[in-house]
């Protein structure tokens, strides 16, 4: 189970969301009685499938939507009825939303211009911000001339230059190709650490969330299902939904349990397992062949598919009416063909359980 | 919420002036015109009190001397002339739009502009142009005399022919533009697929090209046939008595004859026929366009 200590921020909070709900016209509760606390300087991610309410929650923080009930506090100030242009919060939009009638320089300076900062200071801060983000060569380009990655950086600079209390990022990397995306994930993370700014990041990609976040919240149907560090959530998901969403694939139902083990479709498994009604077998913890002998529970399975992935090989196994996915680091062990029967071992150590 | 009421205020502030103009200066006047059709024609041509259907009876052709079909003919002629002009416009615009769509991109805008610019000049001036061309003893009229189309010294107008030419000239751009848009969006893979599947050029056109241009064709038909039906200037300047359309009949009741209720009744008929035309074309558009919404 999740340690309650990791459910709250380590430092003073930058954002507090109390019992906040938001419904839309058709009566769908996009955000349903959400409580949340984000610490100052934290990289916090809202993770969930599309339609889970993560973007709506972000928009509530930005002030682009007003909550039906509840209270949002940012930087110690209650945000009731405060319009977006009076909040010390900036957003990097999913589409980047760069102004087509302004070049890069004038896009980045927009927020400062609106706040009446004088032109000289805007110029100087724009230059510094552009250097920080690595786009100082692009300042006089038109928006239409930029690539996707460049737009993303301009959008980031345009938000960061205002030095907001909180930076909101709405799936800012989803429009980029995988390679660029990976690089920008790292850059964004480094930048956040360097600035010590609070980032609230929205994504539907659990790998991205795990790589980047200090802590994250998993949302489903407008509710927060679990809050914690990436490893806590991955290793001890609080619900079957979270486990599935975090990429777990092997769920073994527990039919009965006693002091020394549990009854499952795979047979009886010895050891002290958690209290949930499903075992969560992580593919990399399933032992094959000789290694299977080294753990307490060993049974036989048939290879249905073999997927060679370079560093690892994945075996899709059929066993006791279940399908299991096992993944093994390639270190020159004998390979198995489809249709072969092999030995499989499961250790209680590092095997979590989960309830619906 | 207080934001909601501010929203409503903004909504009113932005839309009210425009809505005010259309309601006060178009909807109200139209309602007034419609109401007038049910009044009697007074001594000075101005409508007076007793509510009657006399105007409609008179419009249908019942007068002191019994029934005369003149007005009915005018209505039929209006529909016929606008349909004929639309058909000719389609025959001219279809290849033109295709040709433009096959040109290099930088030329297309110029070519489209070349098609549209004449329609930016005033309707009266466009008709004056044709009056110059169709006047007696011009090159065109002489040619027409030689092939026996008209008598010497007569010229080619006023005539139904001149009216049709005038209508085609007026409305051609409104057909070329939507057809061009259709050709520009043409999915050439469908054409290639048809070729690949052994279709002859005629079959390619019939099955892969024409269906794709139908929405443009329907949109153009609405933009041509509907205003052609209501035409006033071209018929007045280029047409004689044999080419009069319902717009002229209505206007005459207000300009010369001073029988406002009769004119108003004619206006109602025009509006009704226009609406029926729109509905028919829209339904037709839906049927040929499948699930694609063709217009409006």
């Amino acid at each position: 189970m999740a340690d309650p200590a990791v459910g709250s921020p380590r430092t003073e909070s930058a954002i507090r969301v109390d019992a906040t709900s938001k419904s839309f016209e058709r009566g769908v509760r996009a955000v349903d009685a959400v409580d949340l606390e984000v610490g100052a300087g934290e990289f916090f991610t809202l993770l969930g499938p599309s339609g889970c309410g993560k973007t709506t929650l972000l928009r509530l923080l930005a002030g682009l939507e007003q909550p039906d009930s509840g209270r949002i506090t940012i930087g110690g100030q209650v945000m009731d009825g405060v319009p977006p242009h009076r909040r010390s919060v900036n957003t990097v939009f999913q589409s980047y939303a760069l102004f087509p009638h302004r070049n890069v320089r004038r896009n980045i300076g927009f927020g400062l211009e609106m706040r009446g900062i004088d032109a000289g200071e805007i110029d100087e801060r724009t230059q510094r911000m552009a250097e920080l983000i690595g786009i100082d060569g692009l300042l006089d380009r038109e928006v239409a001339q930029l690539s996707g990655g460049q737009r993303q950086r301009v959008a980031l600079a345009r938000a960061l230059i205002n030095e907001p209390d909180v930076l909101l990022l709405d799936e800012p990397l989803s429009a980029l190709d995988a390679d660029l995306r990976g690089r920008l994930q790292l850059e964004l993370k480094r930048l956040q650490r360097r600035l010590g700014m609070t980032f609230v990041f929205v994504t539907h990609d659990q790998e991205e969330a795990m790589v980047m976040s200090d802590r994250m919240a998993v949302l489903d149907a407008g509710r927060i299902v679990q809050v914690g560090t990436p490893d806590a959530i991955y290793e001890a998901p609080a619900a079957l939904f979270v486990a599935r969403f975090m990429g777990h694939q092997n769920f073994v139902p527990i039919h009965a349990r006693d002091a020394t083990g549990v009854e499952t479709p795979l047979g009886r498994l010895e050891g002290a397992f958690g209290a949930g009604d499903h075992l969560l077998l992580r593919p990399e913890t399933i032992r094959l062949d000789d290694e299977a002998q080294t753990v307490p529970n060993c049974f036989e399975a048939t290879v249905e598919e073999r997927l060679y992935r370079g560093e690892t090989t994945e075996y899709r196994l059929a066993c006791g009416g279940l399908r299991l996915l096992a993944s093994r680091a390639n270190r020159g062990q004998p390979e198995h063909r489809v249709g072969e029967t092999i030995r499989v071992g499961v250790s209680p150590h590092g095997t979590a359980t989960v309830s619906d | 919420m207080s934001g909601l009421r501010r929203d409503t205020r903004y909504l009113l502030a932005t839309t009210a002036p425009g809505v005010f103009f259309i309601v006060v200066f178009l909807v109200l006047p139209s309602a007034y015109l419609v109401a007038m059709a049910f009044l009697s024609n007074g001594p000075y041509g101005l409508p007076t009190a007793p509510l009657t259907l006399d105007a409609f009876r008179e419009l249908a052709g019942f007068g002191f001397l019994g029934w005369s079909p003149g007005n009915l003919y005018t209505l039929i002629r209006s529909v016929w002339q606008s349909l004929l002009a639309t058909a000719i416009v389609i025959v001219i615009a279809y290849p033109a739009a295709y040709y433009i769509s096959r040109q290099p991109v930088r030329w297309r805008a110029v070519m489209l502009l070349a098609v549209v610019v004449p329609s930016w000049t005033n309707q009266v001036i466009r008709s004056v142009g044709w009056m110059n061309i169709f006047a007696p003893d011009t090159v065109v009229s002489d040619l027409a005399v030689r092939v026996g189309l008209t008598e010497p010294q007569m010229g080619l107008f006023p005539s139904q022919f001149a009216v049709i030419v005038g209508l085609v000239y007026n409305f051609l751009p409104f057909m070329v533009l939507p057809l061009y848009a259709a050709f520009e969006r043409l999915d050439t893979e469908q054409v290639e697929a048809a070729r690949d599947l052994f279709a002859s050029p005629v079959a390619v056109f019939r099955h892969a090209v024409f269906p794709q241009t139908l929405p443009g064709l329907m949109a153009g038909t609405v933009l041509v046939a509907i205003p052609a039906f209501g035409m006033y200037v071209v018929t007045e300047l280029l047409g004689g008595g044999k080419a009069t359309m319902i717009g002229n009949l209505v206007a005459r009741q207000f300009v010369q004859a001073s029988n406002w209720p009769l004119g108003a009744a004619g206006a109602i008929i025009m509006i009704v026929v226009t609406l029926i035309g729109l509905k028919v074309l829209r339904d037709l558009g839906r049927r040929v366009g499948g699930d694609r919404e063709v217009l409006l």
């Binding site: 599309s50 930005a62 682009l64 319009p83 977006p84 242009h85 009076r86 957003t91 939009f93 999913q94 589409s95 980047y96 939303a97 102004f99 087509p100 009638h101 302004r102 927009f110 211009e113 609106m114 706040r115 038109e142 239409a144 | 909504l11 839309t15 425009g18 809505v19 103009f21 259309i22 200066f25 178009l26 006047p29 139209s30 015109l33 001219i92 033109a96 295709y98 098609v115 610019v117 930016w120 000049t121 005033n122 309707q123 001036i125 004056v128 142009g129 110059n132 061309i133 006047a135 003893d137 039906f229 209501g230 200037v233 717009g247 209505v250 207000f254 206006a267 025009m270 509006i271 226009t274």
Partner: protein, 275 residues
């Protein structure tokens, strides 16, 4: 027919079409320089008709009326129509579809009925209240009424083509409602506003019927002047006046070509799917 000969035939057809489109205008321009009042025989180049035209106060008055009518109505129409187009966009989620029909109404209404309805309405108001007597004022009102829907639709189309997140970005970046209008909406809409102004001008200049029925004795425009000259059978300067109007239209066409060719900041490439 082979592809080659089809292409040739199409090209020939295109040139014929150009002749058809421009012959009536060319004839008008050509005979406006004719020494005699005829469109059958050219008796030598002369500026007679232009001299007569510019010494005729009625024509000069009509010219000024035409320009005043077109400019005033177009300016009013882009303000009112622009606001309407924006209101429609901003509140598109509300049930406003009935308003759309109100916008389409002036576009589908036959000119002649439009003009007559306004004429009898203005006369009735004038009789009872003594205001809105026929003249330049009523013509401006009538023109604005048919220009507004076109402007509203153009502005609305431009707004719909924009990334909706741009509106939120401007809010998010500290722009107050007034600053959003000044620094975001107006600059982003300026191409649409320019083209709807040009369209409104064209509509106004192209119109004869509605002007004719809403005009007063003092507010004759050039098309109305030409019309009554033809009706009276007195046509000497008609070709010259028409040539001036054709010239101004070609000038506007040139402007619009330049506006179109200008590398515009109107890109919508910034758009992308949003959740």
């Amino acid at each position: 027919m082979t592809g080659r000969s089809l292409a040739l035939a199409l090209r020939g057809f295109w040139y014929l079409l150009l002749v058809f489109l421009y012959a009536p205008l060319a004839v008008v321009v050509f005979y406006s320089f004719n020494a005699i009042n005829s469109s059958a025989r050219f008796a030598g180049f002369s500026l007679t008709w232009y001299e007569q035209l510019f010494s005729n106060d009625a024509i000069i008055g009509a010219l000024l009326n035409t320009v005043a009518l077109a400019l005033t109505s177009s300016l009013i129409a882009i303000v009112i129509g622009g606001m309407l187009g924006y209101g429609f966009y901003r509140y598109r989620l509300r049930r406003l579809s009935w308003l759309i029909w109100l916008i389409y109404l002036p576009m589908v209404m036959p000119d002649i009925i439009f003009g007559i309805a306004e004429m009898i309405f203005f006369i009735a108001i004038d009789e009872r209240l003594g205001i809105l007597g026929p003249g330049l004022g009523t013509m401006i009102i009538a023109h604005v009424t048919f220009q507004v829907p076109f402007v509203a639709l153009l502005v609305n189309a431009r707004l719909l083509a924009l990334d909706p997140q741009l509106f939120e970005a401007s809010q998010d970046l500290y722009a107050s409602p007034w600053q959003r209008a000044r620094f975001f909406l107006l600059p982003v809409l300026s191409p649409a506003i320019v083209s709807s102004f040009l369209l409104a001008l064209t509509l106004s200049i192209d119109d004869f019927v509605i002007s004719f029925f809403t005009a007063g004795p003092e507010s004759t425009t050039l098309p109305i002047y030409i019309w009554s000259a033809i009706k009276k059978g007195v046509t000497p300067e008609v070709n010259a006046i028409a040539t001036l109007m054709i010239g101004s239209v070609f000038f506007m066409a040139l402007i619009s070509l330049v506006v179109q060719r200008r590398p515009s900041a109107s890109s919508t490439t910034n758009r992308s799917a949003s959740s």
